[in-house]
Amino acid sequence: MIDSVMIASIIKGVSALFQPMIMLTMFLAVIVGLIFGILPGVSGMTFMALMIPFTFGMDPFLAFVLLVSGYAVSSTGGSIASILINVPGDGPSAATLLDGFPMTQQGKAGRALGAMFTASGLGGVEGTVVLALLIPVVIPIVMAFGSPECFFLIVMGLSFIVSLGNEAKAKGAIAALLGLLVAFVGYHDATAFPRYTFGTAYLLDGIEIVPCALAIFAVPEAMSIMISGSAIVDQRTVRRSASADLWEGTKDVFRHWGLHIRCVVLGVIVGIVPGVGGHVASWVGYGHAKTTSKHPETFGHGNVEGIIGPESAMNGKEGGAMLPTLALGIPGSSGMAVLLGAFLIQGIQPGPTFLRDHLDLAWTITGTLVLANVLGMLICFLAAPTLIKVTRVRGHLLAPFLVSLMALGAYSSRNSLEDVFLTFGLAFLAWAMRQLGYSRPVFFVGYVLGGLAERYFGISVMAHGWKFFLTPISLIIIAVTIVSVSIEPVIKYRKRRKSS
């Protein structure tokens, strides 16, 4: 309810953002956050963890502007690397490179970046608006999503594997099943039994997502550049004006406004449910974009919708994830868990009393999410023409830099040399899959979601018995999944009938 107290809180919270020190902090944090995002193996979470010691003794408003600004834009940085050099800055950014990098190879890097900046920037803003509107109802929403609902959300993400694959269904199935099997490496959550660890301690925690993403997507492309020796963009490709291209990409988001909004909503829903994870958001966004596209066959070959979908969902998710963190003190994502630590250091306890006692700070944080995303967007637009030049660098100069970056990224995620060995070892499997037409995105989705699906299936059966799927929300998600998966085959069937 909007009353004088609420209005006073909004005014105090938002006006705090426009003080010179706060604005300067936000500006610097956004730049550093973008850099953290671009570098593989380090993420917004790492940014916050490193900055937290600096916030001791800081004014709470300044502290949270610092942390939230850098965190909010880090996934945008990750997507820049995905699009330009096919190196996912973090796990969720892997969905963006499926169409982002092919666009770069076609000389349309500017358009890809423009679409990404706009979709992610606006997605972050809209997700925050939804966050603000949903504050009064956050508790019932979070309570409504138990383990069965989480399981079916993940199954919905997995179902998009069907849409991700190409025509060779058997190869797609093999890729998906191999990905699922890789997800099972490590401790089984429920029994703590180690599976497929070959007696090593290293594999007890399974295969980390950043080394896997680098191995599956980035290293094979770097090898391809080393083999050909040519730049990412063929020298014969017509050079386009970077700013015109960026603007074209921005317009693309408005051309596909319905897709953008739907994916933001999907992202918010995924974000609100703790435990489901950012990977689900980006892949659900990608899968939804493909299943609802008029030209699904162009996905994976440079369709801008393949950027808009995951980016909108990924950034919308952060607004959603902030919701249970602020309102319940329950982190909606791993990044929010780190932010929760920052709250405690400041002596502030998120939860039901937080919104009563620190509503102005809540609005400052909300405003920071909005402004940081907008500022990040502007900085990226200005820096993009320079960044795009990387795509024209000769292959034999770029390749060693990329391989070095990948090795550093693989190492940094856990400070583990074994991760470097694993990355480059697994890359040869990915290379074979690439050459033989086995879908790597399908493999990766199976890997990312398989472990989660098994976990929530196990908990659902233990807690509810075999009738766990009969909850109302589970049935709705099942229905949405069936409809989403069957749209494309039904349309194809109808087209075939019409033509015959």
Binding site: L39, V42, T46, L50, A170, K171, A173, I174, L177, L178, L180, L181, F184, H188, A190, T191, F193, R195, Y196, V219, M223, M226, I227, G229, R394, H396, L397, A399, P400, F401, V403, S404, L405, A407, L408, Y411, S412, N415, L417, V420, F421, F424, A427, F428, A432, Q435, L436, Y438, G450, E454, F457, G458
Partner: protein
């Protein structure tokens, strides 16, 4: 391509067979999902193997042979990068291997000097100092 796909499917099938046997020794809860996935994967791999076997193969051309040679060289360089990191650590290993790679593939000294410097700055200044990530120092220096 046909032969390569046959080999890939065979390797996958054999791996699934080995994994199936290993999984049987796991507790029931821990083996439930993996057994299903392994069985399905094994069956589909076998199907793909048979389907590919029945296809006609293509003759390999000169272009293919040239590509194969370049792939082997690239694979060797990739392994070289990993060995350099393992033996000499990130800062020195990456710098030296970058120098070796660029000098081998580019004429002149300009880029052979610039690229290693960029790599070193990224590694030491970027990761070790700014990101406070102490990097592996290399087996030879431990």
């Amino acid at each position: 391509m046909r032969e390569k796909n046959l080999l890939f499917c065979l390797v996958v099938f054999l791996c699934m067979a080995a994994a199936f046997v290993a999984t049987l020794s796991y507790p029931p809860d821990a083996r439930f999902f993996p057994i299903i996935v392994i069985s399905l994967c094994g069956v589909v791999a076998l199907w793909e193997l048979v389907k590919t076997y029945r296809q006609k193969g293509e003759k390999s051309s000169e272009t293919d042979k040239g590509y194969r040679r370049r792939f082997i060289l690239t694979a060797a360089w990739t392994v070289g990068f990993v060995l350099a990191i393992g033996l000499l650590g990130f800062n020195i290993g990456l710098t030296l291997i970058t120098f070796a790679y660029v000098k081998t593939h580019e004429k002149g000294w300009r880029w052979a000097v610039i690229m290693p410097i960029i790599t070193f700055v990224m590694s030491y200044v970027g990761f070790e100092i700014l990101l406070q990530t102490p990097l592996y120092e290399g087996l030879l220096f431990l």
